[in-house]
Symmetry: C2
Subunit: 279 residues, 2 copies
Amino acid sequence: VQVQGQFFMVDCGEGTQLQAKKYGVKLSKIDHILISHLHGDHFYGLIGLLSTMHLYGRKKVLNLVCPPGLSEIILIQMKHSQTYLNYKINCIEWVPNEPQLVLDLPKLTVHTIPLHHSVACSGYLFREKPKMRRLNAEVIPERLNVAQIIALKNGEDILNDDGTIKYENKAVTLPAAREFSYAYCSDTKYLPGLAKMIQKVDLLYHEATFMEDMKDRAENTFHSTAAQAALVAQSAEVKQLIIGHFSTRYRDLNLLLDEAMLIFANSSLAREGEVFEIK
Amino acid sequence: VQVQGQFFMVDCGEGTQLQAKKYGVKLSKIDHILISHLHGDHFYGLIGLLSTMHLYGRKKVLNLVCPPGLSEIILIQMKHSQTYLNYKINCIEWVPNEPQLVLDLPKLTVHTIPLHHSVACSGYLFREKPKMRRLNAEVIPERLNVAQIIALKNGEDILNDDGTIKYENKAVTLPAAREFSYAYCSDTKYLPGLAKMIQKVDLLYHEATFMEDMKDRAENTFHSTAAQAALVAQSAEVKQLIIGHFSTRYRDLNLLLDEAMLIFANSSLAREGEVFEIK
């Protein structure tokens, strides 16, 4: 996930480093890793990634947002391999079953979204903070200094030396861009109550391991169907839905997409390498 | 490593499952996994492999030969993912710095080979046990029963009812095939004393991370040069040497091979997917 120059890795299965290389994702840019739960397909690639960052000379602090227990797993491996990282990991282990603010960055926040899986599991809600107004360069006849630009972006007027208004803010700026939001809901059984936590997000990723014909199996294994993912999207009035985490039994993923689209039209498949941009 | 129908995986870095798939190695056939030391490139793929064996319904016991500490690393991950394997792992943690018998199977033994690396590290010596004599079917005029065949293979004669010799063993059997041996010496600094532990093995794998121009760096990082690997092969009078574990700084691996071959002619590179057969 990229937001205004900040790079986040969300879950990290075995082989993530190879995939990052394949798709041109620069590991050195990633300052935040978020793990949803401690099943292998979501974190077995993490320890190798942390080691690689060390070998590549990383010095910057890395935020690691994760379920309780992951720091213990990492530390025990570092101990036995006698590895002492060159960089600090700021490990933020959340409390299961309650929404929490886990990252408060200058331009956005990330909260956990409590899910219901066979082990402690949280999704993540990315929300941009209110943005600054944008300068309307066309109507400003002179070159402004940095202090003036910041003042205008903050919604202030520019005054003359005698205290009169030189530029009225609304006359020379445009409204701030809208704040975007993204909700990542990894492994979970169908949770109708989820919708109220992710109301009107611009983009929702929701797992869809099965189709409706396997609804019972979904329930028993704490997973969702494509239709259930779409119901959450519909009920939360999100703008766009991505479904993923498909059981290998489905050769033709379009069947899952069709099932979702019957309920929520603006649905897409999370195919390997696919990029989704919110504008 | 395959020996008379037994399959061994020796070390297991991240992505090993993908490589196994690529090269047609059936994971279900593997009954023994041996780990040389607890650096990531030698074991980060293990936990995922164990999980996959579980998901694929494995029931057979798996022998896991490894350094002290690996069982703790595995158990803590199983605990947090609440995974209870369907099969038993027979974990054989060796004692560092002394050669030990770690597997005693019907047709072969495996001993540790103490190495000198920055963490506890052992190579593994595979030795076939003496084989049975082979029947010379051409000179036996009748169909033998199972008891007679076993007797002959064990070197016994076949007697008539009156106690006289019907078939003298040496007349109807051929000598047993020779026992083969393979030594795997993973990460280690140059150990001249190694040679006496692996005298006359048919095949030696020895790491060769650097070339002689980086001899000091090899020494400081507890690795070997291609020439040092060849010196061990020469001194141990092995039949064939494979070098591997090359630093990524070497684009042209033939330079390492040339360095080894100057000292030990029958050397080969451990290239991805290469297969070596002892006959």
